[in-house]
């Protein structure tokens, strides 16, 4: 079961990365105007994101994702 999950995970990662490889070098340095915007990030406001994580952490059993958990709390 776990082995199966792991394999599936690996194929998902590979798929996404390889579709990235196809797009490699397509965005020239002078074409990165949109990508340079502060809002073109997965997390646009660290403050709000930290609050979100904190709130969900206190109400749900999951943790993790794209950020390293800050400090724990006694809230669950």
């Amino acid at each position: 079961m776990k082995n199966h999950q792991r394999r599936r995970l690996r194929s998902v990662v590979a798929l996404i990365l390889c579709s990235g490889a196809a797009g490699c070098a397509t965005v020239k340095p002078w074409d990165r105007d949109l990508l340079a915007k502060p809002e073109m990030q997965f997390v646009t406001c660290a403050q709000l994101h930290a609050i979100d994580e904190h709130v969900y952490f206190s109400k749900e059993a999951s943790l993790g994702g794209s950020s390293l958990a800050g400090g724990g709390c006694g809230c669950n």
Partner: protein, 174 residues
């Protein structure tokens, strides 16, 4: 069962191939690099209604700087470029800053903030940037009076300023 094993191996192989292309991009995409003796591409670009033509720059030491309004280090480089202009224009240096913004309004806002005394050309489609094989923003190139590329630099940090200035001085004294 065997099929599935094969599929897994294939995926692993594809993944490895991808990683190789990411880790060694030069090997995967051999990009032509400007070498010391390369001839600089021609600059033929509109300015604010006028035009910079190759003939205008022929026979001069030209410092070309590709910049964009959205590029952080470009904001650092502009005051320095002004200093270079004040210092070396009288000694024959022509500074041509080439803007690659898609939107002229964004470019103007950036430019009017600095009111640069040197030439500004517009290359919104990146044709000239492409010809120079610009690898990052900002990128600068020093061109000799006979049109060869003397020096190029990617990015801008005030720590590099002295090094670039030495190259400018060398080019002017040749």
């Amino acid at each position: 069962m065997i099929e599935r094993e094969f599929g897994a191996r294939l995926r692993t192989a594809t993944f490895a191939l991808f990683l190789a292309s990411v880790l060694f991009p030069a090997a995967a995409h051999p990009a032509p690099r400007a070498t010391a003796q390369a001839v600089a591409p021609a600059i033929d670009l509109p300015t604010d209604d006028g035009r910079i033509k190759p003939a205008d720059l022929a026979g001069k030491v030209v410092y070309v700087d590709f910049f964009a309004s959205w590029c952080g280090p470009c904001k650092v480089s502009f005051p320095w470029l002004k200093t270079m202009h004040e210092q070396y224009a009288a000694k024959g240096l022509v500074i041509v800053a080439i803007n690659v913004d898609k939107d002229r309004g964004d470019a103007r806002q950036f430019i009017s903030h600095f009111s640069p005394p040197f030439l500004i050309g517009y290359d919104p489609r990146g044709k000239t940037a492409e010809a120079f094989h610009v690898e990052g923003m900002p990128s600068s190139f020093l061109i000799s009076p006979n049109g060869t590329l003397l020096y190029s630099h990617v990015g801008f940090d005030l720590k590099d300023a002295a090094k670039i200035e030495a190259q400018i001085q060398r080019a002017l004294s040749q």
